[in-house]
Amino acid sequence: MITRYLRLYWALWKNSVVRELGFKTNFLLWIVVEMLWFGLQLSFAGVIYMHTDKIGDWTKWHVVLLMGASHFIQQTFQAFFFTNCTQLSELIRTGKMDFFLLLPLNTRFLVSLRQVDLGGFVSALSGGAVMIYALKQLNYIPSMPQIAGFLMLSAMGIVLHYSLLFLLASSSFWTVRAQGIVWGYYSMFNIARLPDAAFRGFFLFFFRFAVPMLIVVNVPVKLLSNRLNSWMEIFWLFVLTTVWFLISEIFWRISLRRYTSASS
């Protein structure tokens, strides 16, 4: 069962590579675009720290580390899931969804993973490079368990991003115009890359526990740089990822049932 899905996923990868090779210039240009925007965010951090030394307990290089990690997580997420989620509403509108439902496969697997955006991996590497540079400036060398933990928590953050976006994308089953909502998710990334210390009150509560953008990147980075306030932060990331994944699965099933019964 699992080998079958792995083999299928391998085929989808090969397919994506062939597709990207067809538009080589465009592929490279998109990487340039992502770099530009990444540079833009970093320059914003630079400008802010021209006028202050610390935001809460975050120094300049801690924030650069955070932004690098945010880029790494966001781009990896984009490589695997983003395009697929944004295309869901198009699949439903054009009726191509029916074709996927007919295949003897888990439909969510296919819909979520059928395309790989290879440029995302390249951009993710640039995020990693910025992280290494920031760690050098901080004069801090993380231990192996910290790096492994960082990667695991990042994967969890990616699943959290994916669950939230897939939930939003599933609303396309109910309204044709869900695309605006899905693209609106893009602005959420803007919060994920900011230090949690910059927020307080309702805003902090909302983006930590309800729509947990402030833990997706903050928690892995704090583990990496040995600045976790308590292990509860990891616990919450784990719990909220699980909860949002389950909610997205339940909503997906309800939506799918509605879709299949409406066409009969």
């Binding site: 538009f23 465009n26 240009l29 998109w30 340039v32 675009v33 530009l36 925007w37 833009l40 320059s43 914003f44 400008v47 802010i48 021209m50 006028h51 202050t52 030394d53 610390k54 935001i55 809460g56 309204t175 115009r177 695309q179 605006g180 909502i181 693209w183 609106g184 998710y185 602005s187 959420m188 803007n190 919060i191 900011l194 210390a197 910059a198 927020f199 307080r200 805003f203």
Partner: protein
């Protein structure tokens, strides 16, 4: 008929544009709602920066209230003048050959698109007005209202020019579709440049002074920073006049450039077509 008909047909385009975009009002509403999230986050960040300082301190002339007002006005100017889908639609029209029909009809494509842009902004602004005003009301103790009535007049004048500038630049950019297959990468690159050099990300004057002195000759500040600063009364007197003239010249420049690029593009388009 005659001249009257000429104006009349574009009214018709505006009408159709309004009806078409009304369909998207829910989309617009969500878009503006989501758009606030980064804005609120940025304001939070600056608040945290100012929290480290003694009350009343300024950052290159910006108090906390001034900084918050700046970002609130960025939101207003953006709602009034940002090019939404227009550039992608224009590029799509060219790529799919839909512009052929405009070559046959007595309709000027640039005026046609300008009408659609205008009606799109009208609907977007009216839908976004409720959340925008709510956010301004929420921050009312920080929000800077102009002291002089004339400021509002100059703000409106520069606002109209900002919208035209935004439109002509995006229009010209979209015309690249005559030569390249995929223009979205170029659109996003330009957008990134506008975002930082236009003052979307932070007020340009908190950078070094020489850098701003250089930037204010480029078109970018007139897409955002200039009208915002006019409203905040940061640019007054001779600087205001100078700014308005530079802005006006850039509008004319990009209008002429748009016309010229269109002419070149059509030449290539028809050559391929027949």
């Amino acid at each position: 008929m005659g001249h009257n008909f000429g104006v009349h047909k574009y009214w018709h385009v505006i009408n159709i544009g309004i009806q078409n975009t009304l369909v998207y009002r829910v989309n617009f509403f969500f878009k503006s709602l989501f758009g606030f999230i980064p804005l609120l986050a940025t304001i939070s960040l600056w608040r945290a920066v100012f929290a480290e300082k003694t009350p009343g301190d300024t950052i290159n002339g910006y108090t906390l209230a001034g900084m918050i007002s700046y970002y609130l006005l960025v939101m207003v100017v953006d709602a009034l003048s940002a090019v939404a889908e227009d550039d992608f639609q224009i590029a799509g029209d060219i790529r799919d050959g839909k512009i052929s029909q405009f070559l046959l009809k007595p309709i000027d494509y640039l005026t046609y698109r300008l009408c659609l842009f205008f009606s799109g902004r009208l609907i977007y602004t009216s839908v976004a007005a409720i959340p925008v005003l709510a956010v301004i009301f929420w921050f009312r103790e920080y929000f800077h209202m102009p002291e002089h009535g004339s400021t509002l007049v100059w703000f409106c004048v520069s606002m109209v020019m900002t919208a035209l500038l935004q439109f002509f630049i995006s229009y010209t950019m979209a015309l690249l579709a005559f030569w390249v297959l995929e223009v979205s990468t170029f659109i996003f690159m330009l957008f990134a440049l506008e975002y930082i050099a236009g003052g979307h990300l932070f007020p340009l004057t908190i950078l070094s002074k020489p850098l701003y002195d250089l930037l204010h000759w480029t078109p970018f500040p007139y897409q955002m920073f200039f009208p915002v600063s006019v409203f905040l009364e940061k640019i007054t007197g001779p600087d205001l006049w100078k700014g308005l003239i530079i802005q006006f010249l850039w509008v004319i420049f990009f209008y002429l450039l748009a016309r010229w690029v269109w002419k070149r593009g059509i030449k290539k388009y028809t050559a391929v077509g027949g």
